[in-house]
Symmetry: D3
Subunit: 335 residues, 6 copies
């Protein structure tokens, strides 16, 4: 299905996503009768951040005759800290350097950004709403990393399943526009949804948010869990003042327990201000999705018991007591 | 294969990467007997940039009874410009909003960053070296977007195939460290490689780059295409002065035609300075790979002939003469 | 009426608003038999700006035996440019130095700020809405200065009279809140107002501005001149996007000729952006009202034909060909 | 006296300084038979600052059938804090909204700036010298606000009277220029002034300030209270070094008790530096006079017992235990 | 005379100011039988600037068996431009590397700064007043460099001689303080000085500068060439306003031709503003004296006909057509 | 020897480096019969810093009939603190004002900068390598001042002697380039040097620094004291990463005790980062050599017992208990 251009797990396992220059390497090693050398390679992070993607990397490496030591997912790692060490014949794992670094770097980048918003929002929960900013092939990878970083749920179906969530209750602007009235749509949604699903109704489509919030609260008669504010930038976005007012007007109308869920261009700074105004849930999209990868480097540090390194790095294994053995299938290294 | 967590093309086509709240929408529309309404939705970019991902989106939509108008891939789009319009029954395509936006946003983000470095490097060619910074499932999507943005080649195997490249000739630091000497590795590589592949030898692993460059040039005796400089930050990175010196020393040693290929932390500013110093090729990784998605929004603008829009947007279709019909399978809209 | 603490014109003419140290001066001059000396004093602006307050100053000086040369109101003056020269016995006008400088400085400060917003808004008209930011005793002085600076009208009753305006047509939020519905209030206002007064209805009190604008346009059936947007900061203020959307929705509803009048925290930067979005009138309050006075200095430059100056200034009259004689009642200076 | 354009207390009481759109309001309310509604309006400050103008506002409202609660003058108020609440028939006080806000905003702006310089100068006294920067109609209003903010005296005659000061003793540059010598002028001033008035002599008109200070001290033979430094910017202004030198030279000449009073372009930063150098009094003009109004907003919050508010504000009365009843003449509100 | 710690010309010629590590070098070369090798060394500037010190360097090298090519003094050189090339046996000149670089770097640094102020002041002349900021051993070197950079004269006796000036006419503050009166000192100075020396009298010691200027002009009765202003920072320094006022007052007193010479903390920015105010001469001290050396590097580029260079530089001679042969005493280089 | 333009100690003592206007002063004083007046002059620093040059100044003044009080060399002085007081007949010492200020200002400027790098490097020693940035006549003056500021040694021969150092052991790039190989040069240098001199070998000329360091360590077989890194900017300069790597590789090769000496463009910031990486010695050139002079002012404060001062200064002696009498040869002051 090359219409959709992302690689399948089979293609990844077949090494097709590797950098091309790994291809000739095995051939050259054979030419030089060095293909049986056992080596140790270390992966380190170029910046501090939250580590993620370890489990997926282990799943990629599990079938191979390699030994892998690694840190735990979700751990805060320091700049230049070694996060994984792979020992084995280079020909057996070298082709996967690109994939390993890519999995760790992208997942850790997302987890790091998620941690930032989670800390800003604490104790109000954060949900990963970033699926629409990344390629669908990796939407659930991102959602998984956001959960590692502390998010409480995620918007993509695969991501929500990872969080053990049932498909959660809110609705797209499109539905409201087709129905033509928020209250009518909210009533239908209330009738169709399973009783245990929380009712979260988007109230910024047609009318003033405060007006619509009260209309919907009245229509759902106690079953409304939260309203969702996603006011676009053209209308000034969601401000702390809007949240305070909506909460106050709902309370005056007899609905003090209706929550306020906010989404749209959220950053740690905005989250802090909105939390103080009474928000009960945040949906964070681009702050997580557009996070830079936490770039990783893999360096060969031992070749058959001999410490090596390229210029700029220190030869030999790097001490990190937090590494634990995850796979133990490598042939023995000679020295 | 849920060890590798990325979604397969089949899962994407099955809607499993959608935001969960699209799931209940179809049910609600049926409850309200509105499932047959024909609507028009427009996608616009929230920032200016280079459009990519259109072809992949069309491949996703091709099996559906929808009509699609879109701009061409590679086109520079303005802030808020409509880049795609989809007409059809909402139930037939709504589930794909997340995937469509994700494909367009991520690909356009990468293409936009690629265009920036390509313009800085012009006329020196740029190659996408970012595979190691993104999840392997999307490495080739990124490489494809970089080509749309003007890159001349890409480092991932799938990416290189898209560029019609044969696996290109360079080598990892790991190979050099196992062999133990750059010249020995270069000789083996020269013997193993097909004659038409350009010989590009990495010269920053063991010794001074200038010294190594001359040793390799002598060893390959006229067959050396270029040396590659990737000096790490710990050693000051690749500076214009280093490039000038290496070129001058190669020339004095009788190798005026050996190119200098540079990689490692390149940005448009550094590229401009290095180009002036005589670089003949650039490998750009994180500048492209870590680019923010060019965030896209999809808005319903017509429902059965009636202009609509949520607050903050202008109801009805937006005029854009550059849109052309790509698919034409929608049922007719009633008005 | 010392409950209201501002000074009356009579008190000003009686010198009660002078700096106290002018009081003893006349006594000392008599003690020294110098009270008959004829002197020339020059007033200059310490910064560039728009000159205003000249007519009011002349009205203050008219009863006195002095000769006054001055520049015209509304003229752009340079830093340190002499704007007025007063010749006469010091005892006859010295007591008014404080008042003269105060009138010129405050009026010129307001006129300068008004000119800035008028230039930003050009050709869209600006109205001075600053009365609520200044003491009521000087609200009409400020409105007068804003007119000198180029404003087309002013909101205070005395200010509007100076502009030759009939009390213009808009309404306070309070009226709307008492009536309880914008349309009901708009209808009553339409019935009560004289036919020639333009109908300008405030639409941000209860409901979404776009929704309310259309409701009002329909209710007034062709007689609506403009809607007024004054959305508070808590709701994101008035954005260019809101203006564009309201105009588009009004046009789609069949009211392309209804204007959009905007007020609330306007600055030259915001005015430029809003003008592009289609605003047809601006009400500017604090930008004009809170303008710094254009500080003025009065220096004695001749005493009975002898050039004098304090340290830091150049003795003798300053050449300025744009000064013209406004009053000519001084006794002759001996030299 | 429309030559002088400021409004008289009578005009203010007659509502002529109101925004014109309050005029039609009463008519519309009658048209709708709502003129008897009793409402509550709250005034809040948009920024933190020092409250002033309360007494003058109460004097304006005293004749009306309204109940007024307010904070005390001189109190530090927080952003958005309610500073006054007015209850009554809207028709009875609505016309005064402009005046009330203008009095409170302008007075509080001046008091806030005065407090800043007073705190910087503490314990050295500050005098308000700003009369020449504002319209004479409000010079005493500003001086009164400066006293509320902590100033010890004021330069305008009406302002000085409010501070209970006898006209204080200093002299204008003009007097010195007419007399032609500082010592001669100082002697005459000493002879003319009442014995209890402190002798403060301006010493920067003709000669070096230190030289002149000693000449004057010798001439007044123990009766000199202070010299005043007002060196213009063209001569480098008054620096801490100048103050230190003048004090030292006076002390060496046998006049250690002569004070140094400084004026001219003072800001909190300069005051702090000058205080350390030994200044004994500050005359602050434009820092106080050019202060921005502390902008105030009046919102209707109750209509006949029903909580109301425009969008962006929270309906109903705002709790502020520091409000106390100042006037109690409103008819009862029905609910 | 080691009380005064500077080195004598003899010590410099004897190599005692060299970096110590040049000492062993000759010994090692002999040990290796390489002392007869003829080499070429190039000196380049690390920044753009004005070249000075060339003649002094040539004087140092003249007795040696070397060939020297160099650029002209006063020339603007580019970053990295070769300014001098020395050919000879290394043992014959290597010991002087430190001295050569020191002469060129310090002189060029001073000349570069002088050029900046000269360009700012043009066409008003600049005099180097920096002797008091540098060690007396190099005061005349600095003055010489300032002349190369465009200064018209210099304050040190040796510096003034280089400019062909007779000891110029001004006076120290100390003289004035001993005499006790500026006019008395000026008269004595006028009587003692040779008739052709311009009379420049310092007028900021006792009294107001303007007052003193006129007193002196009257006392010298047409023979006063200029007054000098050097007002200290404690008194606000020399401002453009002070210059304008002094010039105006001198002109009004009948002395339009008396110049105004300014010194004290001058920078290019201040010079530009003061020049517009009418200054007729500038004395610049610390801006020239405290200039950073224009750091120079000497690199060996040829050894017996073989291009060499250390890492970071390009082996072999650098083309610079502006170099001309200044000395031609080297033995021939073998190759 | 006017080829070398610096002044000799004899010329300095003869007053030839004085500002020319001191020349006429003595003549004028005689003309006025004031040459016998005894005066006191104080020197103060215009900025805070480290005092140096006192001993040299005393050596200059020792032959004169003056009394000198001064602070100690190396003392931290405050802004405006009096550092020296000279009492005597003005004619006996006035001519030396320029030289005194120049010695103190330049030495104190260098000492102040040296102190900054010494504090950054503490406890790692700093050596003054700045001789090549200053005129050779003052290279040893600068080195002496650096020692006063805390440097442990200096590179110039005269400077090293002052530090009691034997000519220390390192080598110029030129030697290495003539020999053609670092190891060969190191061996020769090891054979030629006295046994007690530490072997410090420059390793950045030909090959990778780490490679060369190990080659040299092996060649000198335990006698290598330190390698020196001076990597030029074109090659990225010396980074903390390079230092760490070189130290680690030397240790792995069995040479853990070889030090790392770093030079080249060092600043306090870079020194702090490099110290953490394990540097054992710093050679600081331009940071010390290019330091601004700590500008000094000399003011006459007493004339025959009468306190005097120019405008801007306070007449009479300034109290500073840290001044101690260094010379006591002045005639008595009358008063
Ligand atoms: Zn929304
Ligand atoms: Zn990075
Ligand atoms: Zn590399
Ligand atoms: Zn965006
Ligand atoms: Zn409003
Ligand atoms: Zn001003
Ligand atoms: Zn003054
Ligand atoms: Zn405000
Ligand atoms: Zn001076
Ligand atoms: Zn430099
Ligand atoms: Zn080096
Ligand atoms: Zn300074």
């Amino acid at each position: 299905d090359r219409g959709i251009r992302s690689a399948t797990p089979e293609e990844i396992r077949a090494g097709l996503t590797a950098d091309v220059y790994f291809v000739g390497t095995q051939q050259i090693l054979q030419h030089l009768h060095k293909q049986e050398q056992v080596v140790a390679a270390e992966v380190f992070a170029n910046h501090a951040g939250i580590l993620a993607g370890v489990e997926e990397t282990l799943a990629l490496l599990a079938p191979l005759p390699v030994t892998v030591e690694a840190l735990e997912e979700g751990r805060a790692v320091a700049e230049k800290e070694v996060v994984m060490r792979i020992t084995g014949r280079y020909g057996d794992f070298g082709l996967f350097e690109t994939a390993i670094l890519g999995i760790l770097a992208s997942s850790s980048g997302w987890a790091t950004a998620a941690r930032e918003v989670v800390e800003a929002a604490h104790p109000v929960p954060v949900f990963s709403f970033g699926a629409r900013h990344v390629h669908p092939a990796v939407a659930s990878v991102m959602d998984r990393a956001a959960l590692v970083g502390g998010a409480q749920g995620a918007s993509s179906i695969l991501g929500a399943r990872q969080a053990g969530e049932t498909p959660s209750g809110t609705m797209p602007h499109a539905l409201l526009l087709m129905v033509g009235d928020t209250v009518e749509a909210a009533r239908a949604y209330d009738q169709v949804m399973p009783p245990e699903a929380p009712r979260v109704v988007l109230v910024d489509t047609f009318k003033d948010e405060a007006e619509e919030a009260i209309r919907v609260a009245e229509a759902l008669d106690g079953r409304l869990g939260a309203i969702r504010l996603d006011t676009p930038r053209e209308r000034g976005g969601v401000t702390p003042g809007l949240v305070r007012e909506v909460r106050a007007r709902l309370k005056q109308a007899g609905y003090p327990d209706v929550g306020v869920f906010v989404s749209g261009g959220l950053t740690p700074e905005r989250i802090i201000a909105l939390k103080e105004a009474g928000v009960t849930g945040f949906g964070v999209g681009s702050y997580i999705a557009a996070a830079s990868p936490l770039d990783m480097t893999m360096d060969l540090k031992m070749v058959e018991g001999r410490p090596v390194a390229k210029r700029g790095r220190i030869p030999g294994l790097t001490d990190n007591p937090h590494l634990t053995v995850k796979l133990a299938n490598a042939p023995e290294m000679r020295g």
